[in-house]
Symmetry: C2
Subunit: 340 residues, 2 copies
């Protein structure tokens, strides 16, 4: 590091210049009570004059916290990064933190080397807590962090009995209400395009679909369920397959709006009118729907609230560490727009 001549100004130098003791300076920069106003001023003047900035490493080492939290994105498929879903989460997490003294650190974990580096970084005490997005079922990262007592919050669950604190949307309920809506509006043969069956979120949405059918006394058929991978392309292919093998369907619930958009295209390409012949509802990965079809009815996830809640849980856990993990499931909302 360049400076090291005398190095950057230290608290001690400030104290000397202000003619006070170290601890007084410490009190001033930490807004502690019990400093005479004139003294405080003198110290502040010295700080300004020297351009003093506290050494965070020293502060952390001396027992206080790192005043930083990490928002980790574990995504091998890098293109996900640009998705509105993520940028929306990042934005809301940033918003929730903007009032605090806590610095938000976004980090990427793609390879095992990066995973290892992150663990060392976090365990090394550089952050006070970690939020993880898009964690896959087999990923041990959350456990590696939580087990060491580092406050950790997950966005979504890896499975039905997730042990780490998490915030999730009510995927089952959301799917159920979407399908119920289709049935309520006169559709009978409602199909579904699911997400990858090894993802818990996809399982939940499929469960919701099934529950809605069951509650309405509709006998679903195996041919009404096709698996996609959340991408628009897969939605297109799945829809084409549905048209082929179950021409009777008049409603579709897609486990993501991206797939819903693909399905819409496939329907139109096949000459089916939407929503007259077939109605489509997608599970909303948020503002994306607006880019694809502004009239697509969707199940909206409360992304803003998810971000805020993650931050709240994390800060709470940082404040007073608990052994009890907490799980929050947020309600979704069915947004009915023109074309469903």
């Amino acid at each position: 590091m360049l400076r090291r001549r005398t190095g950057p100004p230290t608290l001690e130098e400030v104290a000397a210049l202000a003619g006070v003791g170290r601890s007084t300076v410490s009190r001033v920069i930490n807004d502690a009570a019990g400093v005479k106003d004139t003294t405080r001023r003198a110290v502040q003047r010295a700080i300004a004059e020297l351009g003093y900035v506290p050494n965070l490493a020293a502060r952390t080492l001396a027992g206080r916290r790192a005043d930083a939290v990490a928002l980790v994105m574990t995504e091998p498929d890098w293109r996900q990064f640009g998705e509105p879903f993520f940028s929306e989460i990042v934005r809301s997490v940033g918003d929730a933190l903007t009032e605090t003294e806590v610095q938000l650190l976004l980090t990427l974990v793609r390879t095992d080397a990066e995973r290892q580096r992150l663990v060392e970084y976090a365990r090394g005490g550089r952050v006070d807590g970690v939020m993880l997005m898009s964690v896959h079922a087999e990923d041990a990262l959350p456990d590696m962090l939580a087990e060491v007592g580092l406050p950790t919050v997950l966005l979504g669950r890896r499975s039905g009995d997730e042990s780490v604190t998490y915030v999730d949307a009510d995927n089952v309920g959301g799917a159920r209400s979407a399908v119920a809506h289709l049935l309520d509006t006169g559709r009978r043969a409602v199909a579904t395009i699911t997400g990858p069956s090894d993802m818990y979120v996809a399982q939940c949405r499929l469960r919701g679909y099934r529950e809605a059918l069951e509650r309405a006394g509709v006998e679903g058929r195996p041919s009404w369920t096709v698996e996609g991978d959340f991408s628009a392309d897969s939605g297109h292919r799945a829809m084409a397959e549905l048209i082929e093998r179950a021409p009777e369907i008049d409603g579709v619930f897609a486990a993501s709006d991206t797939m819903a958009a693909g399905a819409l295209n496939a329907l139109r390409a096949a000459g089916r009118r939407v929503p007259d012949d077939v109605a489509v509802i997608g599970f909303d990965d948020f503002p994306l729907a607006q880019h694809t079809d502004p009239k697509l009815t969707t199940v909206r996830q409360p992304l803003e609230e998810i971000g805020h809640t993650m931050v709240r849980l994390l800060l709470e856990e940082m404040e007073e560490p608990t052994v009890a993990w907490r799980h929050v499931i947020l309600r979704t909302e069915l947004v009915v727009r023109g074309s469903a």
Copy 2:
């Protein structure tokens, strides 16, 4: 897993368990030479047994570096975040760092409070260097960092005489070659949709446009230049305006492919055939063009190389701090696809 008994294991505890001194353990974890092989093994065993991870704050304080760099995104308009341009840069920077011990920290700076927080974070010694993306002309952040001797690299310039080390694409040359291509392929009345005139990058691309016209001996008209804001919408509006006030144009150079996409739509809406009636070239914010029009001819920026170069410059500067700032301008490439 038991923890927090006395806190996480320290180097000292490792030393005790291994039956050696502190410094020996330090040497082992830092891969320093001069440790007998059997000793090294013993230490490693102790480390594993205790699950020891070095305290990074202590390490940093003791004089070594933070082993982290920040990639800062200063973007009030948050929606930019999802742009392929940024995700591509983030990806390539991450790639360039993946082999190193350096942790990449992405941070967002939207408000002044966040700006301040970042400065304190960086000056506080938590990162060894900073890369900044999408810095606006009036932003003093780069200076605030560079002036304290913190290695700093900019993506793009704030003005013609940028003082902080930067990496930029050859915007003038890229624009020139795009327009030259249009002229070479028989277009005469080539218009341009510029970016915001207060952004240096937009100025450069406009300059390139003008230079190309001049070199070809084509007399440009004021009505051939319309200002957009890099968004697709603005491209659409600008094109509509061009059609209106300069119906003679048969070629358009847009300062971003996003605007080019908007322009394309406007042209088609107006019944102009593309590229038969009007050819369009956009300055590529990278993979985006593929989402809009796979046949759109574009000026491609070497984003991968930009990211790598930023990292290289930063690491070099971290290695041995220089007073001399360095500027790198990378060549662009005209990618001719079907429809130009």
